[in-house]
Assembly symmetry: C2
């Protein structure tokens, strides 16, 4: 008799976004004329930029003719795209070999897949509040999870201490859901700690393009020592609106070795066994993101979202409400006013101001008492939401 | 100190296609004017059909406007595509719920990923010669592999007997590399055996569109009892030339349960945790494959490859060489003449006729003494190869 992976029975059903959707649906049914201001989900609203659209059409045309047609792509990524990405890092002072860059179908796909190269006996440290998939992917593999709660006291940016013991370290900076960003000095503490303990950092850099403060690290490889202890996972989902188009990339330095196993080699072996590469069409279009024209266009879109953030931050500042994020990230993580709980405040916002946020408690227990706003909505809705926040809480 | 997945150290380096490439390169260097006839690799040569190209352009246009833009796709597949695929099965008499169909990035991706829902204590039965990734993906998970060699005596279509003991059963029909196809009666024996032993069949149907004989099963779900013991993995790679465009689909019936765990539910949980779905653009274009226009166009392409198969089969028939495949599959699996070994015959073909095949030994030890021809090359090269085979071996 076949045995299923019984670790799946330890997963808790995640009702966060389902519960939100149900509440919003019920409200809309009871108030059919209400215009609901959706600042909950972290999905982009602006279309792909022109350079990428042109790239898609060009790539589709390539697939229409035998002389330009592309069959199987190299499993680790098309050379033209691996080079573009390595050049992008070089522009920020990080030297990578093209063969240290792997193309993926996106950060969430890669965050799930990459765990295959680690033994299931390793413990995974997850800073909470966190993207719920970090926890679930490790439960599926039967890994022990070390929860590291963060709080307003440390700006939701905790550092390691000698009480911590874990082999796989998840760091997400800029952070989802809090929007907090580790400084170079803070990341250096994590890198030194990981090298000292032989741990490996999985650095989720999906929101790096939203950093506006000079000197804040976009990549963990800006930190000395990271090449021997870190893997970086990145994505065009938020950078270039690829949530539904799908493309990401992963950096595995050739210096990352444990117990004689080189993780770059292992990942090559994994990809060549378990994939046949990412769609030529999507890789070709993604390449356009890294051209000067593409960079200008995606930053025009990012600025729309950043204006949304400024609009909301201005309102919270006026109200004297504590928050983090917004400046270097597309999320604002605010303390619920008057000691309200996450869901209590969620209900109040929905019922009294027709605003949808995401209750912080959905990202882990220590998120209770906070609410996340996404800045990916339309500017009109975000303006309206800011006005209503001022009315409701002022 | 982090522990790597040490199972990777048990993988043998696969030099098959690398060795072939090196030999071809050396020959070309020594004979710069030689036109090499490439019937080795199983990659398609014809461009995507018109309907799919139009679908790609239409989908790219959708992503250019906020009103038609698609962000995150449902993780298990776009409803429009799940429905198209379920309808495709219905046309062949197989009733499936749309939610029993999962969209993937391709069969190789899915064959790697799906193993996550099975415990690593299960033994995997692999009929050899086989697609090498079946073996490697299971070694990575630390699974014991039960090798079931097949031979000319059973037409490379072995059936289970009471000596066999394994929980995961790989069946690939039409087969890569042999091109052999299980009949309904033969598949029924496997299905009954799996149900009796509580095993689960992973049915790789990537070549189903090449079946031309009436009454041969395209899907394991044409067999009574399969809904309680089988998962089917399929792909548009060979069906519609998607090797570089990437799209596949997987059927997991809701009746497939072991130890109280429903595998359809488990796969939903896996996909929603470890992916954010397949690119909207590729899913929208893939939908065109299942329209009457798309079906006509892909079968025009398939017929080009089938003509290639007939050209080669005619030559082998004239030469009196035993082979299987070609009729219902894009591969021809031939016995090397005069008792030659796989690599010996490979060298002879390359050096004396400028033809590249794939040595059967590369698909497992019992493939020694055989050679695989792919029928995905150009008609001109295939004609030329057939002529040269007749000259060389006649």
């Amino acid at each position: 008799m076949l045995t299923p992976n019984m670790n799946y029975s330890h997963l808790k059903a995640s009702y966060l976004f389902y519960n939100i959707a149900q509440k919003v649906k019920a409200y809309q049914a009871a108030n059919p004329d209400a215009h609901i201001l959706r600042l909950g989900i972290g999905d982009v609203s602006l279309p792909l930029c022109d350079a990428v659209i042109k790239g898609l059409h060009k790539a589709a045309d390539d697939q229409a003719n035998a002389s330009t047609f592309n069959g199987y792509m190299p499993e680790c990524g098309a050379p033209f795209l691996r080079k573009s990405i390595a050049d992008y890092y070089r522009g920020r002072g990080v030297e990578l070999g093209d063969d240290e860059v792997f193309v993926s179908s996106g950060a969430s796909d890669e965050l799930g897949d990459i765990l295959d190269i680690f033994d299931s006996s390793n413990r995974s440290l997850i800073i909470e509040p966190a993207y719920p998939a970090y926890v679930d992917a490790n439960i599926m593999a039967g890994r022990e999870i070390v929860h590291l709660p963060s709080s307003r006291d440390n700006g939701f940016l905790p550092l390691p201490d000698e009480d911590i013991s874990a082999e796989l370290i998840y760091l997400c900076s800029p952070n989802n859901p809090t929007g907090a960003v580790f400084s170079k000095e803070q990341l250096k503490v994590w890198v030194d700690w990981a090298n000292e303990h032989g741990s490996v950092i999985l650095f989720d850099a999906a929101y790096e393009a939203f950093i506006e403060e000079e000197g804040m690290p976009h990549s963990i490889f800006e930190i000395e020592g990271a090449r021997t202890c870190a893997i970086e996972i990145c994505s065009l989902s938020k950078t270039a609106g690829f949530t539904g188009t799908r493309l990401g990339y992963t950096v595995i330095p050739k210096d990352l070795v444990r117990n004689g196993m080189n993780f770059n080699d292992m990942w090559v072996r994994n990809r060549t066994t378990k994939t046949n590469g990412v769609s030529y069409i999507i890789q070709r279009a993604a390449c356009e993101v890294f051209t000067p024209e593409g960079q200008q266009q995606i930053h025009e879109n990012i600025n729309v979202y950043k204006n949304n953030a400024r609009t909301l931050m201005k309102a919270l500042d006026k109200l004297g409400i504590w928050y983090t994020g917004g400046k270097n990230a597309p999320y604002i993580w605010m303390e619920c006013p008057n000691g309200m709980g996450s869901w209590e405040f969620f209900d109040k916002l929905l019922n009294e101001a027709q605003i949808v946020g995401t209750p912080g408690e959905g990202f882990g227990k220590c998120g209770e008492g906070y609410l996340r706003f996404s800045t990916f909505g339309s500017p009109e809705d975000t303006e309206k939401a800011a006005e209503k926040l001022l009315e409701l809480l002022g």
